[in-house]
């Protein structure tokens, strides 16, 4: 009776999850083995799409991997620094910083990209300011429409998202072991490495995973601020669908990228727990 009720309560959410997530993704996975003939999907079972992914899109995959890795590492590091300040140093400013992060987290994905476009442009604020101060003689044209712009824009977008799991992790650490370590003569650095970081591991992994996955799957940011040379896998996946109408190849590209990301994440977890293990 009780079980029955629980099932009924969970049924709508389970239906949404199955019908709009599990089934579409499974179908999408199956499609990646199909082919396109005369602009129509043909059922098939071939690895030819995956072969073309490796032959034609390796460069894009490698580039995406490194730029996403850069973004994820910088974002996680910065978010940790901010979370650390919020927890230990900022005092009354802590809650305020957190509030700003939470309020801006869910809003303005496109607006944030657009804002960076106006900041980094040749007539943008950054260039104007540097010209005015005399740091440069002519506007730096590589600020916008470059990988730098993609890294900056995504960093700004991801920071609040990465901040939350880290603040959660740091807040769950009690003051006692930290005070004990200090009393026993540990330096601030040793306390951080031996006490704080090991306890934050799940938070660090979440922050890293979130920034890494979102960067690797993004196509809007590289399209709008990345310029003609910054093509990430997302752009190729999108163009297979929209311009070339080759859904199977796009699907194969998407699943290859997901697999690479999952492997990278697993490696990151192992490396992190190895480096934080007590010596």
């Amino acid at each position: 009776m009780q079980d029955q009720k629980t099932k009924i309560l969970l049924a709508p959410a389970a239906l949404v999850f199955t019908g709009l997530f599990v089934v579409p993704l499974s179908y999408f996975f199956v499609i990646s083995f199909w082919r396109i003939r005369l602009y129509k999907l043909v059922q098939d079972f071939s690895f030819s799409n995956y072969v073309s992914v490796f032959q034609e899109y390796m460069h894009a995959a490698v580039f995406t991997f490194f730029i996403s890795l850069t973004i994820a590492i910088v974002t996680t590091f910065l978010a940790f620094a901010i979370a650390y300040l919020v927890r230990f140093k900022a005092g009354r400013f802590g809650p305020f910083i957190l509030y700003i992060a939470m309020v801006t987290m869910f809003g303005g994905y496109l607006v944030k990209i657009y804002a960076w476009k106006t900041i980094l442009g040749t007539n943008g604020i950054l260039n104007s300011a540097m010209l005015w101060v005399g740091m440069i003689d002519e506007p730096l044209s590589w600020l916008l429409y470059s990988p730098v712009a993609v890294v900056l824009t995504l960093l700004h977008f991801l920071l609040p998202l990465a901040l939350l799991p880290l603040v959660g992790a740091l807040n769950s650490i009690t003051d006692d072991p930290i005070l004990v370590a200090r009393d026993l003569g540990a330096t601030g650095y040793r306390t951080l490495v031996d006490i704080i970081l090991p306890q934050c591991q799940p938070g660090i992994v979440s922050a890293f995973a979130l920034s890494f996955f979102i960067s690797a799957g993004d196509y809007v940011t590289p399209r709008l601020v990345g310029g003609p040379d910054t093509f990430m896998v997302g752009n190729f996946i999108e163009s297979q669908f929209v311009n070339r109408l080759n859904a199977p190849l796009g699907a194969a590209l998407a699943f290859s990228t997901l697999t690479i990301c999952l492997i990278a994440l697993a490696l990151f977890r192992i490396l992190l727990s190895r480096s934080l293990a007590p010596k």
């Binding site: 009720k5 959410a13 997530f21 869910f106 303005g108 496109l110 442009g121 700004h156 996955f213």
Partner: protein, 239 residues
């Protein structure tokens, strides 16, 4: 985190067309231009319909699920929550294309209704996590007493549980609405030929340097940030 956003708001009130400094005289011209654009009204109407529907549906579905999850053992409950949260981790582009593929595979015509369906899958986890966190602190003994005194399950829910968690539910609904209103990628692919405010921003960004984009961006920004701010206030940071 704030300054790039402040900039857009700033430019939306300045008369300088190029979104550079000096901003120029204070003006509401870009808002006037925007309100004269018929596409804005189409986008606004669609965005309202989608945001409100997603808010209501995901809150009802998510709250039911959260109620169900509290009855499970804690390890099982964690598994269910992690599984239902998977759609948030999936890159939106992949989810969007998977959804488009299945809609066209099944011959479902795309429009506002497919956008609403698609949004549910990544807004419900937020509602579930938020409401579930609140229910964890809720003392179910009072529900048991009500049931012992002869109240129906429905009655005990509406008279005892709901009044206690109402702020949390409203907060969860507002977060779901903010996410839905701001979503561009999933909306863009699953709406067919229609448009919403974010897809209109996208169109404006791609075609010309139309300064009313600052005005439109400011409106969407204020709506999503407003939703989140109210949600935080009434749930008092509990999640």
């Amino acid at each position: 985190m704030l300054s790039p956003l402040v900039l857009v708001v700033f430019f939306s009130f300045g008369s300088n067309q190029n979104a550079t400094f000096p901003v120029g005289a204070l003006t509401l011209d870009w808002y006037r231009v925007l309100f004269k654009n018929p596409e804005f009204w189409v986008g606004l109407k669609n965005s309202l319909v989608i945001t409100v529907s997603v808010g209501v549906l995901s809150t009802v579905i998510g709250t039911c699920a959260a109620m169900g999850i509290t009855k499970l053992k804690s390890t099982k409950a964690n598994t269910v929550i992690s599984a239902l949260s998977l759609p948030i981790m999936m890159p939106p582009l992949v989810l969007a294309l998977a959804l488009v593929s299945i809609y066209s595979g099944l011959g479902i015509r795309m429009g506002v209704h497919t956008v609403i369906m698609s949004h549910l899958v990544f807004t419900q986890p937020f509602v579930i996590v938020i409401v579930n966190a609140q229910l964890a602190n809720f003392n179910f003994a009072s529900v048991d007493s009500a049931r012992d005194l002869g109240a129906s399950p429905m009655r005990s829910f509406f008279d005892i549980v709901l009044p206690n968690i109402r702020p949390t539910i409203i907060g969860a609904a507002l977060i779901a609405m903010a996410i839905s209103l701001d979503d561009f990628i999933i909306t863009f692919f699953t709406i067919g030929n229609g448009m919403t405010l974010p897809t209109l921003i996208w169109g404006m960004m791609r075609t010309s340097l139309d300064p009313s984009i600052n005005a439109l961006g400011t409106l969407v920004l204020f709506a999503t940030i407003g939703f989140s701010a109210i949600a935080l206030r009434i749930t008092k940071y509990q999640s």
